[in-house]
Structures are given as structure tokens and as C-alpha cells.
Amino acid sequence: MNIDFTEEELIFQKEVRQFLDNEFPADMKEKISKGLETSKEDTVNWQQILYRKGWAGVNWPVEYGGTGWTPTQKYIWDQERSLALAPDVVPFGLKMVAPVIYSYGNEEQKERFLPDILASNVWWCQGYSEPNAGSDLASLKTTAVRDGEEYVVNGTKTWTTLAQLADWIFCLVRTGASGVKNQEAISFLLIDMKTPGISLSPIIMLDGEHEINEVHFDNVRVPADNLIGEEGKGWTYAKVLLTHERTGIADVGRSKVSLDALKTRCHAVADGMGTMADDQSFMNKLAEVEIDLLALEFAELRTLAAVSTGAAPGPESSILKVKGTVIAQLIDELEVEMAGYYSQPFVREQFTVDYDGDFIGTGTATSAAPAYFNHRKTSIYGGSNEVQKNIICKFVLGL
């Protein structure tokens, strides 16, 4: 066991730092550091910079344009990227649909979809959840009925993040007989968002943002070529993907950056004649979260190391999801506590680029509560934390 980086790893770290220094757009960095909104253009621009560097497909196989990094290199990249405030890629294309396509798609599909995903030419969104199927994806009701060379899709997906920006959606749909109420009736289908019959209903989140949507399918005709793999195997494909997703969802890098910012800012937030850094119980809570995060970071590194020796991330990765979201939510709460009375004003308009009214509170104090409200979602989506505990019970503890 050895925690030190090798010579090669140190050289790689240097390259990453230089790249981020030189290539991460300064205007985007400024927006992020001030808590201002970033646009779709900012995001796509940054992802295309990554693409040109060859660093867009972090987990992709090298043959499709992946980086071929070791777990330690991935760790270094995530660390440095987070410290530079550079956002991770939007997951739906690069991290979620692409692995399914390169693992289970046919050659034609790989050639058709993967290059545009890698180059961030196409924005994807995810159609898994439905109004009456949250954690229980096996009970999905959206149907895809084969009609010649097409599927006719009917139903409603919900919880679809940024569908309003998306060009394509990947869906789990029911292709089996209506009586078959289990996983074996579910298939994985790619659908062009411009297809007639698709409509969106925005859903406003607790922080007032339009982030998710319901996506309605009304006799939407989808070419049968867009089916990935075999009919009835969609649930299997999605599950493999979900296990991978859970590792990323720990989001250690983002939590570290938030926590570091909190540790710095607490010295500047007044509490009478002193600052929040003098508040021993606040500082203890901060220390406890930091310690938890250290433990989580090593839990993630252990998982990644195990993966690199050939093992797929097992059900143990559920703890990364559970603990990662709990820690991030605790950091959110500490932000709210630190903001004090300035956690109360709801003034999101002041975080737009062209705002010129009175600025209420210092820095991002007034964003703390909305962020806290919004991020309660993280322990619900991607398989709720309750589902993760069920996975631990069943597959780790054998209960």
C-alpha cells in the first residue's frame, strides 16, 4: 500500500494543471466563482475544449476515443478539475447513454451516435422515471409497440433533467405484453426529441428553477433501428449503468471544493465582533463533515482500485451514493447556517449576469437556502438512498 503518486502520475498532474490554467474559459470560471448562472453555450464550449484535448471520454474504451486513464489518473483529473472550479461534463450523453451504446449497441449505432456524443454536438436527456414509478423502475408504463420498422411510443416520463435543452432522449420503454409486469418486458430506446408527438411540461423545483420536465409521448413513431441490443434487455443494460453511476454520484470533488470554500469564508463572515470561525460548535460540525469526506474519498479510491483490477463496481458502491449525497447535503446545511439571516432573502435574479439592483447579502449567502432545498433531490434520484440500503442489505449482507 502506498499513497504517494509515481513519477508519471506527478507529470500527469502537472499537465492537467497547465491545461486547466490555459484552457478552462476565464469567463465561465468567473461566473461559477460568483455563483452566477452559466448557459448551455458555456457548457458545450467547455466540453468541446475537453473533446479537442481528447479528455471528453474519461471512462470510454480507448477504441471509441476514451482517455485510457488509470484510476489514479481519473482521481487526479477529478481533483484538479474540481479545484479549478471547472464543471464535470453533463452526464446524460458522455456518462450515461454512451456506455450503453458502446457496450450493447450494434456497429451502425456506435458509428451513428458515439462521435457526436464525444464531441458534445448532441445534447441528451434521460427518460427512466415515470409519475408512478420512482425507485421501482420495473413497473414502468410507457409502451413501445412494434409497427413494421417502427415502434409507436406512448406514455409519460418525468424527472427528466434539462429536457428543454436536449436533442435526443434515451428511454426505458415497455415492449413486452401488457400482462408481463416485470423487468423482462423493458427495452432501451433512443428517440429524437424533434419527433412529432413529443411535448414537455416544465416542473419547477423548490428553488424556483426550471430544471426538470415531464416528457409526454403521444403516438411517437421511432425507427426500430434505434433499439439498443435486444428487446426485453433494457433493464439489464440500465442496471449495469446505474452501478457505474453510483460511483460518480459520490461527487467527492465537488464536496471538497464546497467545503474548502466554506472553511475559507467562515473567517470572513461576521458574528458580532468575531467571525463564524470563532463558533466552536459550527467549526466542529465542519470538521466532522470534513472527516467524513476524507473517509468517503478513500472509500471511492478503494472502489476505483478494485475496478481497475478487473472487478466491476459491486453493490458496495451503494455506500458511495448514500454517503456522498448525505455529506453534500450537510455541507449545504452548513452554508445555510453560516448565512444566518441572509439565508432568508429569495433574490435569485441577482445571480444573473446583467443584474444591476441592490445586491442583498454578501457573496452567495442568499443562494445557500435555495441550493439546500434543491439538493434534497440527490438522496432521492439515481436510486433513492433507501433503495441503496436495500441493495446493501440484499447483495452485501445477504439479508
Binding site: S129, N132, A133, G134, S135, D136, A138, S139, T158, W159, I203, I204, M205, L206, G208, I212, A270, D271, G272, M273, D279, S281, F282, V336, E337, A339, G340, Y341, Y342, S343, Q344, P345, F346, V347, G357, D358, I360, T362, A369, P370, Y372, F373, N374, R376, K377, S379, I380, Y381, S384, N385, E386, K389
Partner: protein, 375 residues
């Protein structure tokens, strides 16, 4: 000892309970929050007609008696509908300051109008650096002939958007954190030199930042004795603290019930999720937290009304305990509702937001735990 409501209290509870159930549903509240006034004049007038605006005032001033138990009984019912009308800000806080410190003329000019519903007020006490320290007052009022000249900034003034008159906490002498030298001044919200930036709070109330730039008010606007108003301020904030505690208990009760009902109807894996024992025990924990909150609220209210009077330690105990419960019940209600719990369309998230805001109003949970231990 006696744990039952008297007849008047029972009537008050029934009256508020019936009103909010019939006339203040979630859609009504949404419309009020979206409206630029920041509260509903119609509902406020109804509150006045029903006599509710008199509750926090003494009988000798024409009020209902200013008993803590009455106030908590009413605020619990308000909490069940997360009423956004500025009852606490205008009446308990600003009105409370006038009631406690004002002279006969000031009381006459103000309290009647407050109880009739024709006047909206606010208490401007917090500042950018003060956090929860009531003695930290950087806003100054210097005397000049028979006037005071006010300079400074006041933060997150509840009902600041609607208030016609303010009670402003100012420093008339001493250093910024001295306990003496703190005074209360009545200031017309439209006075020359007063600038405000109004907004909604995250939980839908109206509030504002106030900037005072050489604002001149007559020395007759002084409430109470110059330089000696910290004690009054503490009592007023303690009373407001008790009021939000009561509101929180009402809101928690609703969230608990809604969560229990939701889990009975929400099916996953072919059965209602209420059948999952892990969720059941978490709801049992929510219930326990709610019951303890109800108990400590009663304790604090009864101690405040007791023969030996004002008990800030009891109030800090209640705020600390209820703050913890508000956190657990709010978070668990959202989690157990799943996706819909974090959307704006469902009422559950709004109860959660109010319960969150209350945790940090008038001192965080930690602040009150510490205060309980130190006084």
C-alpha cells in the same frame, strides 16, 4: 398545574383552525405570495374582525391579554396553513416593542391602529454583522436639537416590504457591541433618507433591507428610555421566538400527517410504501419529535405565563428542541415524498421551506442550545 385550554383559548383555537381550513388553502397562499403586496389585505382585515390582532396586547391597552399560551395556540393553527401574513413581524415584534416601551401617547397612536388592522409595522434590528447578537448595533442615532439623525443598515427586516412604520434599533451611545446605549426609534418608512430593497423570503414572506442615510426623526419618536432598550428588545425577540416555535409545531403536525397519508397511497414494488417497516419507524421517529416539540412548546408558554414570569431559558430550550425537530421532520417529509417532495407544485416542500427558515430565525438551534446552557 393545569394542562387544559380554558374556554377562551378553546374558542380562539377553534376560530383560527376553522378559518385556515376553509379560507386559507395552499392555492390561496400561493396567490398571496405571488402578489406584490406581500400579504393579503383581505385576510388581514378578517383577522382584525375576528379579534385575532388583539391577542399579543394587554387588556389595559385594549388587547386580549398578551398571554403566551394564547399566542402559541393561535400560531400553531397559523403554522398548519403556513400563513404568510406578517402577524409576528408587525404585531408581536414591532407592536410588542411599542407595547413594552411606548408611553401612553405612543401606545394610543399605534396599538389601536395595529389591532384594527389599519397599520403595518416592522422591527428593524438585525444588521449585516450582528448575526443573532441583539447587542451588536452599528446603526447610529445622534441627537441634534430635538431630533435624532439615523445612519446605518438593517438586514432582512421582516414585513419591511409592507410596513408603513418601523421600530428601528439604534445605538445612541457607546461602542458597537455595548449592552447599554441601545435605543428604539419610531421611523416612518417613507421618511427622507430611508431607502429600501424589498423582496420575498425563501418561505414566501415579505421582507426588506433598509438603508438609513441621515434620516431625521423627532425626539418624541423615542420609545422608552434612551440607551436602555436592550432588555425590551430581548423580551420582544423572545416572544417572537416563542411564536415561530408554535408555528413550527403546527407545520410539523401537518407534514407528519401528510407524509403518513402519502405513504399509504404511494405504491412501489406493488405495495403501498407505508408497508415498509424502515419507513414506518422513520415516521415513528417523526411522531416522537413532533410530540416532544408540542410538549416543550407548552412548557415554555406556561413558564412565560407563570407567576414568576419571563423565562428566557425556557424559550431557548424550546427553540433548540423544536429547531432539531423541524429539521428532521422537514427533511424526512421531503425524502419520504420522493421526487414530488422537491417540486414547487406540492405544498410539502413549502412547509419544509418554512420549517427551514424558522430554524435560523431569531437564533439557530446551536445558538439557543448555547444560550440555554449559559443563562
Amino acid at each position: 398545574m393545569d394542562f387544559s385550554l380554558n374556554e377562551e383559548q378553546q374558542m380562539l383555537q377553534d376560530s383560527v383552525s376553522k378559518y385556515v381550513a376553509q379560507d386559507y388553502d395552499f392555492e390561496t397562499r400561493k396567490a398571496i405570495v405571488a402578489d406584490s403586496e406581500g400579504y393579503s389585505k383581505t385576510h388581514w382585515q378578517n383577522f382584525a374582525e375576528l379579534g385575532w390582532l388583539t391577542v399579543p396586547f394587554l387588556e389595559e391597552d385594549g388587547g386580549f391579554g398578551d398571554r403566551a399560551v394564547d399566542l402559541t395556540v393561535m400560531m400553531q393553527e397559523f403554522g398548519k396553513a403556513i400563513v404568510v401574513e406578517p402577524y409576528i413581524a408587525s404585531l408581536v415584534m414591532a407592536g410588542g416593542a411599542v407595547s413594552a416601551a411606548g408611553n401612553a401617547a405612543q401606545k394610543e397612536a399605534i396599538l389601536g391602529a395595529l389591532m384594527e388592522g389599519s397599520l403595518q409595522m416592522a422591527l428593524a434590528f438585525a444588521e449585516p454583522d450582528s448575526r443573532y447578537r441583539l447587542n451588536h448595533v452599528a446603526t447610529t442615532a445622534t441627537q441634534s436639537d430635538s431630533s435624532y439623525i439615523i445612519n446605518g443598515q438593517k438586514s432582512v427586516v421582516l414585513n419591511g416590504g409592507a410596513a408603513q412604520q418601523l421600530v428601528v434599533v439604534v445605538r445612541t451611545s457607546g461602542e458597537v457591541a455595548d449592552k447599554s446605549g441601545i435605543s428604539l426609534l419610531l421611523v416612518d418608512a417613507n421618511s427622507k433618507g430611508v431607502r429600501k430593497a424589498a423582496y420575498r423570503t425563501v418561505d414566501g414572506f415579505n421582507a426588506a433591507e433598509f438603508y438609513f442615510d441621515n434620516v431625521e426623526v423627532s425626539e418624541t419618536n423615542l420609545l422608552g428610555t434612551e440607551g436602555e432598550s436592550l432588555a425590551v428588545l430581548e423580551r420582544v425577540i423572545d416572544r417572537a421566538t416563542l411564536a415561530v416555535c408554535a408555528e413550527a409545531v403546527g407545520a410539523m403536525q401537518v407534514l407528519l400527517n401528510k407524509t403518513v397519508e402519502y405513504t399509504k397511497t404511494r405504491a412501489q414494488f406493488g405495495v403501498p410504501i407505508s408497508s415498509f417497516q424502515a419507513l414506518q419507524h422513520r415516521m415513528a421517529d417523526m411522531y416522537i419529535e413532533y410530540e416532544l416539540s408540542q410538549s416543550i412548546l407548552l412548557m415554555a408558554a406556561m413558564k412565560v405565563d407563570a407567576a414568576d414570569g419571563y423565562d428566557p431559558r425556557a424559550i431557548s430550550a424550546a427553540k433548540s428542541r423544536i429547531g432539531k425537530a423541524a429539521r428532521l421532520i422537514g427533511q424526512e417529509a421531503v425524502q419520504l415524498h420522493g421526487g414530488v417532495g422537491v417540486t414547487d407544485e406540492l405544498d410539502v416542500g413549502h412547509y419544509f421551506k418554512r420549517l427551514t427558515a424558522i430554524q435560523f430565525l431569531f437564533g439557530s438551534t446551536d445558538h439557543h442550545t448555547r444560550r440555554f446552557q449559559q443563562i
